[in-house]
Amino acid sequence: MDAIFLQTLNGLDKGSAYALIALGLTLIFGTLGVVNFAHGALFMIGAFCAVTMQRLLNLSFVTIDETQKDFLGNPLKVETPYVESWFGPDMGAAIINWSVPLAIFLAIPVMLIVGFVMERGLIKHFYKRPHADQILVTFGLAIVLQELVKANYGANPIPTPAPAAFSGSIDIGAALGFDPNVIIYPAWRMAYFVFSIIIIGAVFSFLQFTTFGMVVRAGMSDRETVGLLGININRRFTIMFAIAAVVAGLAGVMYAPINSPDYHMGMNFLVLSFVVVVVGGMGSLPGAVLAGFLLGVLESLASMNEVKNILPGIDQIIIYLVAIIVLLTRPRGLLGKKGVMED
């Protein structure tokens, strides 16, 4: 029982990443009707925003300290980050320590611009083309984006540590009445889960409770009529594309401490996110979120030794297996609407 609970928790952080990426994919598909194979690359760019922020904050100037000598007897060169000289040593060190959460403020404008440029510059011209063309051009774009990142940041994973306050673990089991020291969970993963719940909540309430969101929802169900009512639906859909890019980017920023970002991480997540979208149901936002968490938890449960002893290798393929079964038995996915991309 403890083990099952622990594995469920372990699945939540990966599930959160799947859910956030799948949510963005579904937003784009539901509004623009475009299958975006470059969405994994957006996730990857978000993670590299965290890397960039870390590097920016660590930019240092060199002063020569005459009072100290190094082992050769020369005056010691001291590197001081600019932030430390501006805000004082304590505050500066704290800012550097919190570089990953601070990277959110870098990621939001960057992802908005990337999303906007991508939609206006490229995707706009592909509305009328067949789905295969959309898949192919965004696949090409994903290759280009990931190679650009590789050219600038190298091919190796770059460690981006979480703030020191989150580096430990929480004994969740003790808080919930289990034996202490049985269910221990890394604090940052917990933070990631909470963060993703907040983002998902924000997206849903934005769509549900604002006028803008209402128009977008109306456009998703009947684009032509909304256009006939004199609303510039295309501009709103462009903004939704940028928002979907931001969601993917934020998922990437916060994921950087869990898995050191490398240029290839987007592709790995992309395949799984597509599977998630299909299981949840094309065009269904709650379906994408539900399926994201469900598959994340399932994957984690399947990697328990008890399960692996019965079905060896099941942890590697459980997600794909579920996807195949869902696609064949319930074509529109778990929560998909009837008649949306059902053939």
Binding site: L141, A142, E147, I317, Y320, I324, L328
Partner: protein, 396 residues
């Protein structure tokens, strides 16, 4: 001739001559000259060109004719490679049983996957094939290690049975005693031409595959496949069940991929799971579409272009670029070299991605369509009244 009409026959003859003379065509420049850099006539590169041409021709039968975009074809390539290496281990290094078994095994495997995946179409089909390929890739790495040797890759060891190997048969893949990696070099003045055995074996098989694909394109069966692409529902209403036809196309293209995988193993008797990864499937998609999906010559052209450019671009390193641009003033040289080096050497995939995007955006019919457009515009200059006839759509 050979059951082909005049146009197809001349295309086939053209491709045959090209394949026969490829060691010369790719080595256009004298070996030691400055332009010798652009030569691509290495045995390895040409052999890969022929193998990937087979792979792309097969993929084109599925995607070009029926419009079903499979993102998991590399799985069949990988299965073919494994089957071939197993034949090397059990029977010996002769490539004939290896290639036959790789075609059969990947054919059976594609019957299974196709039978399930083809229940859906459009993007769902793409994702189902992707899921199956990823599953095979992951299983090959984990549970199926006894069969695939996991991360090390399947290879031939000294204590393997090799029951058909005679006392003095070569210890590398061979065709009845002729080693695949042997080659003869002819020197003509400053030129060195290499004629590798492995390449010609692959080229002959590629020509057979190409001939078969022409016959399929022109057959009633090919017409059925095109009907599926243009309107499956209408086809069903006329009383024809599209499923057997798509399954047949899927299996044929899977067998082509298996043949390509077997030949890859014959080139280098080592099979690894990374051949099945979905990026490898993406490569054949790129080749086919770059050349021109749905056209006969497109996949060959795409495979040739990509393999040649890959070879040349990967060779360009920064030192070489500096020596090329040394005529520029210093302040200009550094940025120019920096800009170009982002696209060459390690950055070859960037060029490939950008090229692919340009083709998708501006030339949905691929390079073949590009040449047709150029051809048409030159013809229009000479005779303006030929427009009605000139509107030849690519065989799509």
């Amino acid at each position: 001739m050979l059951g082909l009409n005049k146009k197809d026959f001349s295309l086939f003859v053209f491709v045959t001559i090209f394949m026969a003379l490829a060691p010369i065509i790719f080595n256009l420049f004298p070996t030691d000259s400055a332009l010798g850099f652009f030569n691509g006539g290495y045995p390895d590169m040409m052999q890969r060109f022929a193998i990937f041409a087979i792979f792309a021709i097969g993929f084109n039968i599925l995607f070009g004719l029926t419009g079903y975009l499979s993102f998991g074809h590399a799985a069949f390539l990988g299965v073919g490679s494994y089957a071939a290496v197993w034949m090397f281990k059990l029977l010996g290094y002769n490539i004939i049983p290896a290639i036959v078994l790789s075609i059969i095994v990947s054919g059976l495997f594609s019957v299974l996957i196709g039978w399930i995946s083809l229940r859906r179409s459009g993007i769902y089909f793409s994702i189902l094939t992707l899921a199956f390929a990823e599953m095979s890739f992951r299983l090959a790495y984990s549970v199926l290690t006894p069969l695939t040797n996991g991360e090390t890759g399947l290879q031939v060891y000294n204590d393997d049975p090799q029951i058909m190997a005679g006392a003095n048969s070569p210890d590398a893949p061979h065709l009845f005693g002729i080693k695949m990696n042997s080659a003869s070099t002819i020197n003509v003045g400053p030129w060195d031409f290499t004629f590798p055995v492995g390449y010609y074996v692959c080229a002959i098989l590629m020509l057979i595959s190409f001939y078969l694909s022409i016959r399929i394109f022109r057959s009633p069966f090919g017409l059925m496949l095109r009907a599926i692409k243009s309107n499956q529902t209408r086809m069903a209403y006329t009383g024809l069940n599209p499923r057997p036809y798509t399954l047949a196309a899927f299996v044929i293209s899977g067998m082509y991929a298996g043949l390509a995988g077997g030949l890859l193993a014959a080139m280098d008797p080592l099979a690894g799971a990374e051949r099945m990864q979905w990026t490898a499937s993406g490569e054949v998609v790129i080749m086919t579409i770059l050349g021109g999906a749905g056209t006969l010559f497109g996949p060959v052209l795409g495979a040739g272009t990509i393999k040649y450019l890959e070879n040349v671009f990967s060779k360009m390193n920064e030192g070489l670029l500096h020596s090329w641009f040394s005529f520029l003033p210093d302040w200009l040289e550094a940025p120019v070299v920096w800009l170009i080096s982002a696209f060459t050497g390690e950055g070859w995939h960037l060029t490939l991605g950008a090229l692919f995007m340009v083709v998708i955006i501006f030339l949905p019919g691929g390079l073949v369509e590009g040449f047709q457009r150029i051809w048409k515009s030159t013809r229009r200059k000479t005779s303006g009244d030929d427009d009605a006839n000139a509107k030849v759509t690519p065989a799509e």
